[in-house]
């Protein structure tokens, strides 16, 4: 790309003086090149993937984060999984999965499954996987997702019966595809403790599309296609995949640009992606993302909140509505994120079954743009005297490096109207996590990444009476509707219900969602297939990629 | 001024006759100035000097007279901020070659150094590189002036070490400087100078840092350098005794000029210049004050000897604690001492003899670890600070180093008033000022000096002020720890005089500590000689110095060079006799 090189040179010239000595010192090694050794594979064209993800643990019981789950998706089998291009789950290594009674969910495994180490993969492994998950209940683990699982039973080698606590749980199949769902080898994994990564790798306890051949935590993983995988997703297009773990996004970007990395996925900075869009050696591939950003209001401590001196629910609502009116989502998405995030007008992100955009029409100018006049009249009608002082908190270290810019812009947007006086504050994440649930922050930033790709995961944790936000939002109708959708068997009826919930919450504005993260992969010109796996399942599968 | 360039007197030693026309070095109209913060200052101003082969020329003067600068010029060793004018013509030992050092290029200068002229410095510990063996350092000079094999260099190093009197030279050649005593180090420095057989050695205060007994040995060695090696010596010194001991001819410098130059015997016998006369007059001589001491002893009231002593030490022991559970160092080992009211006790000893430690213990600055020490009726061994405090107001102390006796940030008046304020005799400086002025006048300092800062006073003035401070509380006991050892002789003479006057007038008892027998003799009623933490001899000056009984005292006395060449020659004989007894 011409402009990059040119401005790079300009920069180089400006700094040549400082670098002159380094030049002299290093000139001796100038001739050689490291590209020769980057190809280590023998068959096909191996692909190198770069990422800034972090792996906590390869053991499903010991991790509950995107980086670890990304690896598990490649190497462990699931009972239920999402096929390419769809957010909805189907049996993966299972032949069938269904409710055999309201509280019994029965899964039949395919016959003759084997682990990469040669062990047979049977229902006993499945029972083992879920039992140990519950038993270990690691503080870092996802066991709490199995809130509805009572017990697991393996009547024969290919049959697993899940006994559930509440009946007709429509979310349970989805949960089997979530971080709590990977099936592990009972001969390798410990039944009552998190198993160290190296033991897993040494035990070759893999049965997903790939098996790991070389593992250096958070540094380098080498994958090789596992021929014994007979599940939903089929055989990988590429035999060998290497994944390099980066700490600095800019290094990943440079290596991508230099061709040392074929696929960069999660997370280049918006500046980098914007820059690479104009680079003809690489392609920027985008897909819908499950990550959302929203402002949470604490119903007790926000302006006119229930515990404030001038408590007034109507005025409090007006304040939230005015905020919703004033936020310019396009400006944030463009200026701060350069299109790597897109405007979000609902609580359920675009791409999921049942997602609508209630906030687009209800607030602002009705087209998704802000409307200061409308905000002004909303406040005036409720009898709120402006400017309203709003203490707004964000975390500077948990939701990416751009949070500061994001919130500086939001502050600016709110204040520009003259209706708000925003005190922007930031707090380091651990303290932030404690403070936000202790009613310290009247309004604050949060983000969400789903456990499974179902609208339920964007509603249940947030808008029930007892929720993850702990913001004292309490709407009986919404509460009942959410509980209702989870047990509604008819997909259409359930979708209707989900749409209704979104409308209802949009009227209350427990939170103001404003951004949805797109999944962006930057791939070399000759790499195909990224588009196929950047779907609403939010699982990035290396198997879809191929290098021509 | 008129006597600046006295024609050198005739050859003092018959042996030097044939070379009389030749000069090893000839300095003509030398002037040197330095760039300093305060602008340019001139250190040497129109100096003419000549040294003949095999002659010892002593350049004498007080600090700042320019003598060291003159000597450094001969080797071209002046610092960068110096500017030189005039000529220093240096000949080699054979007299076949001549150079003007001032005009030489650095490379030529390097060739001359070591071969034609070498230097012996004041502080032998500082001029020996601590991380190389002495053999290596001696060979270094050889290697700098031509190819010398390691083996040959070593052999020559051993040879020269033997010649300067280092025993077991073959083994010790591989040792490091810190393994030698101070006197041996100076011998090694001299060996380094001699190894290239230069025609001239410049010795800059070669014995000042050494104890008097060691000094005598080094002076002997230098004499042998002249006699055995035939090397001329330029001896820079402030000590007239050293001059009398060693010099053939003497040049007296004052304010950058040579005020008088003459043969040694002539100069001591018949000084011409006013300054030379004054300088010689200032040098304390043993026996000078015998009459005065006797008169004082006669004037004591009856029963004086039985009066309660001001200080009484019985079997006093002071041990400095060791580190890391190492045994301590016993500085004082079983000393008995008494000082009666109004009496001056002189405490003499060489470095490390424990004399200062005793003074500090009496003042309560160093804890007593054994025996008994009663000061003004208070037992210091095991005394608590509360018990010592009242005693302090009755003791005065005058310290050795005039540069640090006063807090540099406070005026002299502040310093002198300090004891008055601390002891509650005055509330603040203003209240104390009248007494301060009185004290300053008592030590013959103008009142106005009270407003000056310590660095604005000369060393002698500071010691007077220090005396004023010591006397501020009208103490019954004054401890003077080497009060004059850092001063030039002329200044020392006046301070000592003042001291004697004040003592007579105020009648305080005094412990006068010094390494210099002559100085102690001048003031003390009784003298105690300290050697390795023990008193070896005690008595009146007449007794101790006139007829010493202890061998150490005898040696000490014989080692002290007297400022008279004739007498000193006799002393030397005596010292040689004492040594042979060992």
């Amino acid at each position: 790309m011409v402009s990059v090189t040119r401005s790079g040179r300009r920069f180089a010239a400006a700094t040549a003086g400082a670098a002159a000595l380094a030049l002299v010192l290093t000139a001796c090694g100038g001739g050689s090149d490291d590209e020769g050794s980057s190809d280590g594979g023998s068959s096909g064209a191996p692909i190198t993937i770069g990422t800034t993800d972090k792996i906590t643990s390869l053991d499903p019981a010991g991790s509950y984060d995107n980086g670890s789950f990304a690896v598990m998706n490649q190497v462990y089998p699931f009972l239920m999984n999402t096929p390419y291009g769809s957010p909805d789950v189907e049996p993966d290594i299972a032949e069938s999965a269904e409710f055999t009674s309201p509280t019994e969910y029965t899964v039949k495994l395919k016959a003759g499954l084997k682990w990469a180490n040669g062990n047979a993969l049977t229902s006993s492994d499945v029972k083992f996987s879920f039992d140990r998950m519950v038993k270990i209940n690691d503080p870092n683990g996802p066991a709490s997702l199995l809130y509805n699982l009572d017990s697991t039973e393996a009547p024969d080698d290919t049959t697993v019966v899940f006994h559930l606590k509440s009946a007709d749980d429509q979310v349970f199949p989805q949960i089997l595809s979530s971080p709590v769902g990977p099936i592990v080898d009972e001969d390798v994994f410990s039944p009552d403790a998190v198993t160290p990564d190296q033991e897993i790798v040494d035990g070759d306890a893999f049965a997903g599309q790939y098996a790991i051949t070389s593992y250096k935590q958070n540094d380098l993983i080498a994958y090789e296609a596992y021929p014994g995988y007979k599940g939903l997703l089929g055989a990988p297009k590429t035999d060998k995949v290497n994944v390099k773990y980066y700490d600095e996004a800019s290094n990943l970007k440079l290596d991508t640009q230099e061709g040392n990395v074929d696929v960069a996925f999660r997370s280049l900075s918006s500046t980098d992606i914007d820059d690479l869009r104009g680079n003809d050696k690489v392609k920027v591939v985008e897909g819908p993302g499950g990550e959302t950003r929203y402002i949470t209001f604490n119903f007790d401590t926000q302006p006119f909140g229930a515990k404030t001196d001038d408590a007034d629910p109507a005025k409090a609502l007006a304040v939230r509505q005015a905020v919703a009116d004033l936020i310019d989502r396009d400006e944030i998405a463009d200026q701060v994120y350069k299109g790597t995030y897109t405007p979000l007008y609902s609580f359920v992100p675009e791409g999921l079954t049942g997602a609508t955009e209630p906030l687009k029409t209800m607030y602002g100018d009705g087209q998704g743009k802000p409307d200061a006049d409308k905000a002004k009249s909303t406040l005036a009608d409720a009898g709120v005297t402006s400017p309203v002082t709003l203490d707004l908190q964000y975390s500077n270290d948990h939701y990416g490096p751009s949070s500061a810019d994001e919130y500086a812009l939001i502050k600016d947007q709110l204040e520009k109207s003259g209706l708000f006086k925003v005190n922007l504050q930031t707090t380091e994440w651990v303290q932030y996590s404690k403070d936000r649930t202790a009613d310290v922050y009247p309004a604050y930033q949060l983000g969400w990444f789903p456990d499974y790709s179902d609208a339920d995961n964007y509603l249940t944790p947030f808008f029930l009476k007892e929720n993850f936000l702990a913001n004292h939002y309490d709407n009986k109708a919404v509460n009942d509707e959410i509980l209702q959708q989870a047990v509604t068997k008819d997909p259409d009826a359930r979708t209707k219900l989900i749409e209704k919930i979104q409308d209802d919450v949009a009227a209350d504005l427990s939170t103001v969602p404003y951004l949805q993260g797109a999944q962006v992969a930057v791939v070399g010109k000759d790499v195909e297939g990224a588009k196929d796996t950047l779907d609403a399942s939010f699982k990035f599968r290396y198997a879809a990629l191929s290098k021509g | 001024m008129s006597s600046t360039t006295t024609t050198p007197a005739g050859a003092p030693r018959p042996g030097a006759g044939p070379g009389a026309e030749r000069h090893v070095v000839e300095i003509r109209d030398l002037a040197v100035s330095f760039a300093t913060d305060a602008g340019s200052v001139r250190a040497v101003d129109g100096v003419d000097l000549t040294v003949r082969p095999g002659e010892v020329l002593a350049v004498v003067g007080e600090s700042g007279s320019g003598k060291t600068v003159t000597a450094s010029t001969i080797l071209g060793l002046l610092p960068e901020n110096a500017t030189t004018r005039g000529a220093v013509v240096l000949a080699n030992k054979a007299g076949t070659d001549e150079h003007d050092v001032v005009a030489l290029s650095p490379k030529q200068l390097r060739a001359v150094r070591g071969t034609d002229v070498a230097m012996v410095f004041q502080e032998p510990s500082a001029v020996l590189n601590p991380v190389f063996t002495v053999g290596w350092q001696i060979t270094e000079g050889l290697r700098a002036h031509g190819k010398v094999s390691a083996k040959e260099g070593r052999a020559r190093a051993i040879e020269i070490l033997e010649r300067v009197g280092i025993p077991d030279a073959a083994e010790r050649v591989d040792q490091y400087p810190h393994q030698f005593s101070g006197g041996q180090k100076q011998r090694i420095v001299i060996a380094m100078a001699l190894v290239l057989d230069p025609g001239l050695i410049v010795a800059d205060e070669p014995t000042t840092a050494l104890d008097v007994t060691v000094q005598a040995e080094i002076l002997d060695l230098l004499r042998r350098v002249r006699d055995e090696f035939g090397t001329a010596v330029v001896l820079i010194t402030h000590n007239m005794g050293v001059v009398a001991d060693l010099a053939d001819t003497v040049a007296v410098m004052y304010q950058g000029k040579v005020v008088e130059q003459a043969g040694a015997r002539e100069l001591f016998a018949d000084p011409q210049d006013e300054y030379t006369k004054r300088l010689l007059g200032s040098v304390p001589r043993i026996g000078e004050a015998t009459a005065r001491t006797a008169a004082r002893a006669a004037g004591r009231p009856e029963g004086w000897a039985e009066a309660t002593p001001v200080v009484a030490a019985r079997d006093l022991e002071i041990t400095y604690p060791g580190r890391f559970r190492r045994p301590g160092f016993p500085a004082v080992r079983g000393v008995d001492l008494t000082i009666r009211p109004g009496e001056v006790l002189g405490l003499v000893g060489e470095s490390g003899s424990g004399k200062s430690t005793i003074g500090r213990a009496i003042a309560g600055l160093t804890p007593v670890t054994g025996g008994s020490l009663s000061v003004l009726g208070v037992e210091m061994n095991g005394a608590r600070p509360r018990e010592v405090r009242p005693v302090r107001s009755r003791i005065g102390f005058v310290f050795q180093d005039p540069s640090s006796t006063f807090n540099p940030l406070l005026t002299i008046a502040d310093g002198v008033a300090e004891p008055l304020i601390v002891q509650g005799r005055a509330r603040d400086l203003r209240a104390a000022r009248a007494r301060v002025d009185e004290l300053l006048e008592a030590v013959q300092l103008p009142r106005a000096y009270g407003d000056r800062y310590p660095h604005e006073l000369s060393g002698g003035q500071r010691q007077r002020a220090s005396l004023a401070r010591g006397l501020a509380l009208e103490p019954e006991l004054l401890i003077a720890d080497e009060p004059t050892s850092a001063l030039d002789v002329s200044v020392q003479a006046r301070v000592l005089e003042l001291f004697a006057e004040l003592q007579a007038e105020l009648g305080f008892a005094c412990l006068f500590i010094s390494h210099d027998l002559a100085v102690v003799d001048l003031l003390a009623d009784r003298i105690a000689v300290l050697y390795r933490g023990q008193v070896v001899e005690e008595g009146t000056g007449e007794h101790v110095l006139g007829a010493p009984q202890d061998p150490y005292t005898q040696r000490l006395l014989a080692s002290l060079p007297v400022p008279d060449p004739v007498q000193q020659a006799e002393r030397r004989v005596e010292l040689a006799r004492l040594r042979s007894l060992d």
């Binding site: - | 330095f34 913060d37 700042g64």
Partner: protein, 359 residues
């Protein structure tokens, strides 16, 4: 003899102004050393002026994103409106650089004042009384001193900040984090000085006359042990800038809406650099380099001038000067022994040397 009748006139005592630390040093310096000192003073002066006048000099506020009419836009190249362009967050680079000087200056001042107070206090007590308190303090300070300072500052930042982001909260957190690093340094320097001064005769003199400890400590020890402070302060000031920048770079510093901070801006600019957007990184980086360079030049010059071995003097062109002033006359004038340039002066900087150059 004749010296008692009249006090000879002293050379006029230099004015208070010319006795001030830096001023007196400037007067002493010559040639290259003077050049370095002057260059350092000029750069440092500019830095301070910019820091004080930031509200006047900066075209925009440090957290300003738009004018009355329009937003600045992010990552705009240098132009008439934004001489140095805008950052990824849409701030004006020039303004951030200028305001950053103010932040740096505030942090330096707070950090140094705090560490001087605490360091002097414990250094004085420890050095003066000695004993087991001294030994414990020495071991503790040595332990802290030996630990990588940036990591120490990060630890301190986590404890102290607790997530406050207001201007003063951020500055105090950063400054106190740096203070934790500095205290051992001041402790060591002051303690070493105190231990040295304790052996000076005037302390013994004060003890002999029965001065109480507090009087000796305050009147004699304290005042004399602080002479090396200007030097350490300058060297520490440059270190403070680097530590602050390091903290900011690693994300433990001050937030952009609270104050402008160079290290933070550099951190944010990393991605820009690899995308050909050079102006967001270059200017904060240069600001750090220049500020540290200026202050270090001053500090090093002070060090050289304080140390007689390192101080250079110019030789005069001709033999000149007044003889009498150099010699100890019979009247006993001030001694200036020109061959030995000054009494041995301690090298207080060595302590600082060891630690310098972090980050």
């Amino acid at each position: 003899m004749s010296d008692t009748t009249l006090a000879p006139a002293l050379p006029p005592r230099p004015s208070l102004w010319s006795r001030l630390p830096v001023v007196s040093h400037l007067r002493q310096s010559v040639g290259l050393q003077r050049f370095m000192l002057v260059a350092g003073l000029v750069i440092t002066g500019i830095f301070l002026v910019v820091a004080v006048l930031a509200p006047v000099l900066a075209p925009y506020g440090y957290s300003q994103l738009r004018t009355e009419t329009a937003a600045f836009g992010a990552q705009q190249a240098p132009s008439g409106d934004h001489w140095l362009g805008t950052t990824v967050g849409g701030y004006d680079v020039l303004s951030r650089v200028i305001w950053g000087a103010q932040t740096a200056a505030l942090v330096i001042v707070v950090a140094i004042v705090a560490s001087i107070f605490l360091g002097i206090l414990i250094g004085l007590v420890s050095g003066y009384f000695g004993g087991w308190i001294d030994r414990v303090l020495v071991v503790v300070c040595d332990a802290i001193y030996a630990f990588p300072s940036l990591l120490l500052a990060i630890l301190a930042a986590i404890v102290i900040s607790g997530g406050k982001s207001s201007l003063w909260g951020g500055i105090l957190a950063a400054a106190l984090s740096i203070t934790v690093v500095f205290i051992p340094q001041y402790f060591r320097v002051i303690r070493a000085e105190v231990v040295r001064i304790k052996t000076e005769a005037y302390i013994d003199a004060a003890r002999v006359i029965g001065s109480p400890h507090r009087r000796i400590m305050v009147r004699h020890v304290l005042r004399n042990s602080t002479r090396t402070l200007p030097l350490i302060v300058t060297l520490n000031a440059s270190e403070a800038i680097l530590t602050l920048a390091g903290l900011g770079f690693l994300g433990f510093g001050i937030e952009p809406t609270a104050a402008a901070e160079w290290g933070y801006d550099l951190n944010k600019a990393i991605a820009d650099v690899s995308s050909g957007i050079w102006w967001t990184a270059l200017f904060p980086g240069l600001a750090i380099v220049l500020a540290v360079l200026g202050i270090t030049l001053v500090g090093e010059s002070l060090n050289d001038l304080a140390d007689p071995r390192l101080r250079s003097r110019r030789a005069s062109k001709q033999v000149a000067g007044d003889v009498a002033s150099t010699s100890v006359a019979v009247q006993g004038n001030v001694v200036v022994d020109v061959t030995d340039p000054g009494a041995p002066v301690a090298d207080p900087v060595r302590d600082v040397d060891e630690r310098e150059g972090r980050a």
